[in-house]
Symmetry: D2
């Protein structure tokens, strides 16, 4: 099995390297990098010293079985058609194939979609929701981190019409690694540390992705209030969701819906009532944790969903998708709980 | 002027010491401590070395002009009547006099109110909202940190009926110092660091305080969804609020309402459109920062309000209240912007 | 294979659980806890939800092949003789068997050694230095975290007489998790965060352990200046060492000595000249990283050594020791590089 | 009084703005910025909202009494002669006038000194050591942060010949803000957080500055081992020093020497024996804290010195120097203890 990574020196790319290193089925690793071709991986990331990860290559793609694309939006779509012709299965960690509509893509990403004709062939790679559609596919749109945490919580409830669609507030909080390895004042240590802020208020690009999938689940077009915040920590993502239950729905109905959806799932966990998820429960692992309560005073449900933004929110889910499309055990390379403390 | 502090070794107590140290009108400081009476303040807090803060006293109150009570709920109310008889003005940083109703207090704090007869004499000490009522009073209920951040944002808008009362979500985030100096596993460094969590979901004691004041502002009984979260940082508080505007209300109407309320205020700042508050803007200062946007897609307003939980959320506001009841310049001892970075 | 852990809810105990979970040779796990017997492991550590780790047991030891003791000093030694009679191999993560001299133990730990007669049977479990002595032994004294980082750097150099023994400064820095899960003001988040301090200056209990092993390596009794510091981070340990080289010794001599010692080692890495170790290089892994330079202006060598205090400094090394005494592949359950970022 | 700042948007520059804002003697503030001229200060630093700090100016210097230069090395020296001709007193927070020797400057800073002829007129602005020389001077070289923490501890002891000059190890640790506001991968949040590292080993530019001043104090040329480390926190600096006492010197001799030097000083504090300084003791304040012990086993002294790197290590000391040269009370604008927690 030959596997490649485009953007191998970014945080998601490096996390994929870490996962494939213990995977078992991957024999050869192609590491593509536009910025560091020719350099030894260990010179970029010295913690890989003596592990013989390999030399970074330019972005000429060799023969491969699977290619992970961890690139800024637009760059993957330009080349996807060529990859597919080379008979390479493509797992895109970027945004190019997440939205079904090229118009919506253009509206939010401010560029014309470079490969609109491929959108119909792409499948949204959220395994716990779309596992059957993923199997055997060649083009996987790996979900965004915020959508992953949100959809795991809401899709089952909306599919069963347990929530009203007119009222959904998604207040999300992410560790800083989600912003990647590119330097900027907004990610400068002294500006982020001991600080907490909202960003992208009413304008974050994960909004249409969340709405698309929630609309699909509920069967009607809906909009959400989605506000991401930056937490002074490196890893982790927590989403707090507020919704209005459908008439007559009790807390147990919601809990049982989740239970039915996830009882066979290896990576999604419902915590016992009263135990609320913390981001550290997921740190370094592919596990997601869920909890909810029905606030008796307002009648609204409060949901908390937690993942590791680089794992279930990016690299871990990408490897999970690879395992599915290749027909391997879904948790290959992904076993293990969080690092604690 | 003789000023006392009960609970002088807690974080709020120590912050009051810091503020009074540079205040100018305070000549004598009584430092009460049930746990450390007899010890030199510098032995508890060595960063006060050579500053001659004084020896901690037992809780026998001497003759004083003003007494700050920074004690767990219940303890202040037991003794307030005696303090008032001594002709001491009392500023309670605890929860004993914030709720107008002794029944509501008992419901949320699980003890019978020790001095229900005094509730009618207490004034809720949020200066920018109730300044005129505070002047000359002898018993001030210093607001909770979460209510302060929330009410500064919402009270003006609800008073003007710019928001609907049926839909208010308050998603709040606080630094760890708000939990005080008492040790517990939940505040143990290795459990909190690189971690983010919700707590007190649908059950936090600041909920009835927020609802009381918002109901008063709007003229109708309302309930809110209030969810506090713990941020891995020491200081700072950010509240994200979601609401539905009344029919026909535009973003400018909301902004102008704030503008009218706060243009003369020294400690409350509206940021220019598009500049969102960060907790660090307030760090170590008594300043609050506000921002909002009307999300065109959902029609809901998103509001962010930021304070330093130990300053405007506790000690700073308490000193501001003292300045008001004593008739001094309101910002005495409170000038200065945040420490950055 | 049946393996037990005493102190299974402490940080080192939990880390052993994490490692054994992916180990492959361990079939049954006994989890002993004096404080939480009868509780499900998942109720203590909810991130283990659905992993079926097991119920915590009281400290009555069943039949076992290997027992890890992660207890405060004194408690293990009291019972070791009984464990050995049960034919259980004991790996003590505490301090009871690290010092060869019961007198020295009493001097530094302030209690009489509970099992001085066993000291001669215990082997100091630093595999890269004492692998041959560890094989087949029944009582392993797992080294302290500071000694591990220090000895990996210094033992080879002192064995070859490349350093003078009269001048050794060990300035050490540790993440907070090294202090364990017991709450105290010194580990209270708000007191540790954004703070850095020395502690145990000229009095830390790892001092005699370091001196014993360095004396053994150099063949003469030596003393060191050892100063630990607390870094506001959860995991990681970095030791900066200052020494005087023996006459005529060049930087290359030092480097070659390390090279010869460690070129076959899976867990100890010499970085290329100029690349200095960072604690994050080791985070979550069993790898150690070394670097040095000969400061031309002073003629002294400056050495930096890095480990993860809970892995190579505790649980990882304990599992490595188990693998050696059981004759398994030494890296079983320990593969994998640091989590980055 | 008209005061100017060149580099007003850097961290040191902004800290000077914060201090002057509460200073009392400063009427007009000129804010120079090469990168942001024409912008309102509040647009760069929104936490100054409504404070009317002013518009950033280009670097054409108007008539001023005092000018703080917080610029990269080389840039200040080019223009100093012109400033002095304008009759402006110059306080340079950079490195241009700290070393007495232009050759040494060239060796370490890799550029020819732009104004070597002024070196003889500059005074090294460490008030507690050189107060008399500072008074009335026009060109002050504000010391580096590491030298400040180191020299406060060592100069008195070396002047009295209490320490040997052949053995001095200075192991220093700094918060990240010392690196300034310029973005780089080394200051990128996700690379720094939960990480600790040495940097500039045996090559940091503060080395010759420290050696110059210690040589001056001891009366003989000496060299030191100086190793800086980066702590994952924003503010604070701690220096651990190891030295050999001169024959017969006892711990009390060292302590008394400090006592004699600092008993009248407002900003330097000796802690009681056994209380070790923490960086947070200084946070946001101009105070320094000292402690030492004589390690009986090795005979070496271990010293810890703590400052806030942006205050006593930069902006605070600069304002202290201004107060001295202008003949004002030395602590004007600098009163106040650390922010805790």
């Amino acid at each position: 099995m030959k596997v490649g990574i485009l953007g191998a020196t970014g945080y998601a790319g490096q996390e994929i390297v870490r996962l494939l290193h213990r995977h078992g089925e991957v024999e050869k690793l192609y590491l593509g990098s536009s910025s560091a071709a020719g350099e030894d991986y260990e010179s970029i990331y010295p913690h890989w010293q003596d592990q013989k990860v390999g030399i970074l290559q330019d972005e000429t793609i060799p023969e491969l079985d699977v290619l992970f694309c961890a690139l800024p939006h637009g760059l993957t779509a330009q080349r996807t058609s060529a990859f597919l012709k080379q008979n390479i299965k493509v797992i895109d960690l970027g945004a190019d194939f997440r939205l079904n509509s090229a118009d919506l893509y253009e509206e939010w990403y401010k560029i014309k979609h470079p490969a609109a004709e491929l959108l119909k062939d792409a499948v949204y790679g959220l395994p716990e929701i779309y596992r059957d559609q993923i199997k055997g596919k060649s083009l996987i749109a790996n979900p965004g981190c915020y959508p992953t945490a949100t959809l795991l919580a809401l899709v089952p409830l909306l599919r069963k019409q347990l929530l009203q669609t007119s009222f959904l507030v998604i207040d999300a909080k992410s560790g800083v690694s989600g912003a990647g390895r590119g330097v900027s004042l907004g990610m400068h240590y002294s500006e982020v540390n001991e600080n907490f802020k909202a960003y992208g208020v009413a304008s974050h690009r994960h909004t249409p992705e969340i709405e698309q999938e929630l609309s699909r689940a509920s069967g009607q077009n809906l909009t959400v209030n989605f506000t991401p915040h930056l937490v002074p920590m490196t890893r982790g993502m927590l989403v707090t969701i507020y919704g209005k239950v459908s008439e007559g729905v009790q807390e147990d109905d919601l809990r049982e819906c989740w239970q039915a959806q996830y009882e066979e799932e290896e990576f999604v966990h419902l915590l016992p009532p009263g135990t609320w998820p913390q981001t550290k429960f997921s740190s370094g692992s592919n596990h997601a944790f869920l909890q909810l309560t029905l606030d008796k005073r307002t009648g609204n449900v409060v949901i908390v969903s937690v993942i590791d933004n680089l794992m279930k929110g990016a690299a871990g889910q990408a490897v999970q998708n690879m395992n599915i499309i290749m027909g391997w055990q879904e948790s290959l390379g992904l076993k293990g709980t969080a690092m604690w403390p």
